[in-house]
């Protein structure tokens, strides 16, 4: 990127322009968190259950957030820090956002990351990346409180089918995401297997000796085991 583009895309006015989008995400989460926490005890949850939820959610969130760091730095090179900050916090998905930047560049016929990036590219990227995520916000705004109806329609009117459909669909999604990491077979496949074996052993052990820390830390421990196994393999192969 040129010095001029860097100054433009990282200017104070861009930070101010991006602030409202991030602020509404935080504000919505704050309102829902406060209401949920206040009403949790009123409807019969214990304070321990609430604390356990908060703790486990925080622990489980940290790892995937760290993954986003290196990809976010790439996005910052194309969109500047302020807009990358907005994009990763507003219907953010790192893979989606990098695709969005690519589609914007392709749309106006320039090479992403090159000196061709200018104010016109930034405006195009701002519109394309924001516009592409509107579908999710609209679906959620329209149907979040009517998902039972949506699911019933998809289940052909049989409410007994709804949880079965949900389970099947979830298995399908995670099988597809996992298979993408297995084929073609590379080092990351060992991470998939290591994580899968670790959670199997933890789950079987937890069924016999239920422990609270397993439920709170289980996902994170298995992720770390998978990462560790892959890193050791790369060290042994001289990759790092």
């Amino acid at each position: 990127m040129t010095a001029e583009y860097k100054a433009l895309s990282n200017s104070m006015i861009m930070w101010i322009a991006c602030l409202p989008g991030v602020a509404i995400v935080i504000y919505q989460a704050y309102l829902i968190f406060k209401k949920s926490k206040d009403d949790a005890v009123r409807i019969g949850l214990s304070k321990n259950q609430v604390s356990a939820s908060i703790r486990s959610a925080a622990i489980t969130s940290i790892g995937p957030c760290l993954v986003m760091i290196t990809a976010m730095l790439a996005l910052m090179m194309y969109d500047g820090a302020p807009f990358a900050w907005l994009r990763t916090n507003f219907i953010g998905s790192i893979t989606y956002e990098l695709q969005g930047a690519q589609f914007a560049a392709d749309g106006i016929g320039i090479e992403l990351g090159s000196a061709q990036m200018d104010a016109n590219f930034l405006a195009t990227a701002c519109i394309v990346e924001a516009g592409g995520c509107v579908g999710w916000v609209i679906f959620s705004a329209l149907f979040s409180d009517r998902m039972e109806v949506v699911q019933e329609k998809l289940a052909g009117g049989n409410m007994n089918a709804v949880p079965i459909i949900g389970t099947g669909a979830l298995i399908g999604v995670y099988c597809s995401l996992t298979v993408d990491r297995l084929i073609p077979f590379k080092t990351q496949a060992f991470g998939v297997f290591a994580g899968a074996i670790a959670i199997t052993l933890l789950t079987l052990w937890d069924r016999k000796n239920p422990k609270q820390w397993v439920k709170e830390w289980g996902l994170t421990i298995c992720m770390i085991i998978g990462m560790f196994v892959c890193t050791v393999i790369d060290i042994m192969n001289g990759v790092i």
Binding site: L8, M14, A17, C18, I24, V25, I26, Q28, A29, L31, I32, S36, A40, G44, V50, S56, T60, G63, L66, V67, M68, T70, M72, L73, W85, N89, G92, Y96, Q99, F103, A104, D106, G107, T124, I127, V128, A130, F139, S140, S144, D145, M147, I164, I165, G168, A169, I171, G172, V173, R181, L182, I183, G191, A194, Q212, L219, M223, T231, I235, V239
Partner: protein, 232 residues
Amino acid sequence: MNNEQQNIYKNEYLPYIVRVGKITSWLSLPLIFIPALVVVIFFGARPDAGGVITGLVGLCSAMLAWYIVDPVTLYPILHIPGMYMTYLCGNSKEIRAPAATAALSAAGVEAGTEHGTIVAGISIAISIFISVGTMTLVAILGNAILAVLPQTVLHALNYLLPSLFGTMCMQRILLDPKSSLIILPISIALKFLSMNGFFKFLPFGGGYAQILLCVIAGVIVARIVHKDKLKA
């Protein structure tokens, strides 16, 4: 839950969540286009309409199936409060669903119940505070962070998502092994078909076909395997 608690949940909690969720979601739509407006007004940008439309058509077509598949499949875990927050903040499968899953397990409540709904609300809000905080730090500190982290740690981060997906996939398998042992080979077959360009004839290149067909296969298989529960 007793009648009073049911009353609080149905007549106080849910209406509040729906009101907040709808208002903030609709309000957010114009806000995310402010940066584009600023670049045009203050930096004199004149984006080419054809370029914008080409970019939008490309991106939206790639994401089209996801606008519906993603919320429908994750709703059982996220439920109403989680849906509004997740489809405003994002990272549904990577951060929100795992955070909600871990919280439901830690609190010992089932997804989709009244207690599970409130736990989902609490946990996803927490995950949003963490992710927004992290991304804010990264945006401000940028490259300084990369310079501090050891190379081995940075390298290991490349393997976090595969490990996470393998873990979550196995959790699903352990919950329903009969369906999973049929769906998994189907997913592998669909992957091979996708890799060999079998779906390229579909509109917009068919990049969405693999995951969409995996979801459809998952639904059909689960209905067949659990057909006795459908009649109950």
